[in-house]
Symmetry: C2
């Protein structure tokens, strides 16, 4: 049961000039399901990405890095579910490249102009023949208004398709930002991946797109955690088609640049939060905010210590205001000179702990009232400086164990 | 259901000359249960300890550190369950000190000669009056052969008391090492603690005891993990009473020193492993061995990444040879220059992955066969150097969630 997350209404997903999307059933793992998604980009588009930091990165991630570094502009993105092509060695790399060549031949572009993405079972051989057989149908399906269809096509264990869209005015023109994502955590039958694709028709200096995707990732996908595991295939891509017809944005700090940046971050954040809301077994959406750190890095450590703690997460599942678990997580986050007698802790509006101990006015009934909510803000004040950060996570439920303990069959 | 762990047979627990143990019912949290344990030490004993690295350390931990730094030798250890006296600020510190003064008066020693330990609910006021009322009965109960009784007396969520003992010959004398421990993880109703107490009658230069306890901790309690959470009260104490009558050991590298060191590590390791075997909801005991690292620190990071991964742990619970999850954990362990194409992975005797991919001869049936066992060795070869390490953990089951999601009532 996703937490306050509904499937996107297709009418809310604005088309992005220069992007067409197509879906097909290639039978990568099982027949009869949409498992192949294409994005076709107008010539002159700029594409940039951030990828998993897992050293065991999958073959398609390696190919994406190569192709983004090549001189030719990216013209197509190809995503298959059912097989992650990870842990597959040199053979897997060859297969990822082959799918690019096949699509390139069909679209009359260079193989280096294709970015491949795979998600699904790992350590199994990618069935290039099936993908090859499915590509013509995906190409025939390409249309600008297929965002919702594509969001559904990249799902694995997701229970709800994830998409977001917004429009802003820049120099009198309407600029669109639209994106889709799919879930983190592990999938049944096997390893899953977090994928995010955001496209805009904004006209922007190509050199700025990499900075923008990095900033958007740091404000969205890099701030969520389901279970602390980092997949081998995680990828987040930003596409700029430059079709909106306004003067080219030459700085992200200009008024127009900031408008675009805010729109891209807004869409990316909604896509990232949707992944948490649909986290495996999630029953609650938790915002962890850490303030008053000496620097942002220590705020992140504290926030992730809380967000990763199985003890904290089971307490949220149980609606148990078991606050010692949160304080303990703050304590082991790795800040060597932390002064525990300074810490404040809030659950939503309830002041739970003050100066490292229970707040004199705190009543367990107040904590209990907050813990029963489906959306909860944990706020920790370190009183060490002016830095802060926020991460989003979900609780740890019986269903998480059931989903991930389920044998792959 | 603990994994291959039986309660200790009292006849296997050799008394340690110079140590007497007593247990009483103080009703710290609930009446009618053994919740107060004393260890009384002969004058001249040496005591050293290692404590939680959690910056939110509990009041008794702070008092222990103070008293171990004082000039007087430690003569008594006092452990209460039912209340951790953590997150209690200055008041909690005063209460921990008061219990030491009360016991000191009864035993006619100085308050600084007492080490206090508390485990149980956190952020609640320690009932000093009840402990004070219970101490005379604990003193009256002091006997050298009460190790099994004491092991039971310090239990919280543990389902089985934990004790271990061994004897070695040093210079023609029998030297005894005996210890008790209690579980990590969280307890119902609240936060638990890992406690370990090991005593020996070996004659050893007092200055060596601190080095020995550190080494023993690094080889035992510092190598186990249930859920990655570090309690505010974790403590491991080594006592040397010097009563065995052999020539004083002046170096841990001498033959006698090594015999003692091995005995202390053996007992400590059994006590630590017993905690994992009785981990909350544990159904399997997992040994994670990482070999071929450039240094021990990176081996530890890889081993803990595997041992902490909820995805790996649920796969063990499900007996699912979901090996990609293990490789993924290796990948995100934080070794920046890891070459994934070098990695080997074994499950017991089964060679699962080679050069970062599935081993050509690997059959899933072989992985399945190993995963059904109650004790499994995961072995990762990094091929980067000569360092190695081992950690022990358990799986993540439905019962873990149930135990920790249970409301404190």
């Amino acid at each position: 049961m996703p937490v306050n997350l509904l499937p996107p209404d297709p009418v809310d997903l604005h088309a992005v000039a220069g992007v067409r999307l197509g879906v097909a059933q290639a039978g990568v793992r099982k027949p009869g399901r949409d498992d192949l998604v294409l994005l076709s980009l107008v010539p002159g588009s700029t594409v940039a990405g951030v990828f998993t930091r897992n050293r065991f990165c999958a073959a398609p991630v390696q190919v994406c890095r190569d192709h983004l570094g090549a001189a030719e502009g990216i013209r197509a993105l190809m995503i298959n579910t059912g097989n992650a092509n990870a842990g597959t060695g040199a053979d897997g790399l060859g297969r990822a490249r082959r799918t690019c060549s096949v699509l390139a031949a069909l679209m009359k572009i260079a193989p280096q102009q294709v970015l491949p993405f795979s998600t699904g079972v790992i350590m199994e051989t990618l069935p290039v023949d099936r993908i090859e057989a499915g590509l013509p149908a995906a190409i025939a399906d390409l249309r600008p208004d297929h965002w919702a269809r594509a969001a559904r096509g990249i799902m694995t264990t997701d229970t709800v398709p994830k998409a977001a869209s917004c429009q802003v005015q820049i120099a009198g023109r309407t600029v669109t930002v639209t994106g889709i994502s799919k879930g983190a955590g592990m999938i049944r039958p096997n390893m899953a991946t977090m994928l995010g694709f955001v496209a805009t028709d904004a006209a922007i200096e190509p050199g700025l797109v990499q900075a923008l995707v990095r900033e958007a990732a740091d404000a969205s996908f890099n701030r969520i955690t389901i279970d602390g595991d980092t997949s081998t295939n995680d990828s987040f891509i930003l596409i700029a088609t430059h079709q909106a017809g306004h003067p080219v944005i030459t700085s992200l700090d200009s008024a127009d640049g900031q408008a675009l940046r805010n729109a891209v971050i807004d869409v990316s954040r909604r896509l990232a939060q949707a992944i948490v809301r649909d986290g495996e077994g999630a029953t609650k959406f938790i915002t962890v905010r850490v303030e008053g750190g000496a620097n942002e890095e220590e705020c992140r450590r504290v926030a992730y210590a809380i967000a990763h703690s199985p003890l904290v997460k089971t307490a949220f599942f149980a609606s148990d205001p078991n606050l010692g678990r949160i304080l303990a997580a703050v304590g082991y986050a790795g800040i060597d000179d932390l002064d525990q007698t300074l810490i404040d802790l809030y659950l939503d509006d309830v002041h739970v702990a003050h100066q490292g101990g229970r707040h004199p006015a705190y009543q367990e009934a107040d904590g209990q009232r907050v813990m029963k909510r489906s959306e909860i803000i944990v706020r920790v004040l370190l009183h060490r400086g002016g830095a802060s950060t926020t991460v989003w996570t979900c609780d740890l439920s019986h269903d998480y164990v059931s989903i991930n303990a389920d044998y792959r069959s």
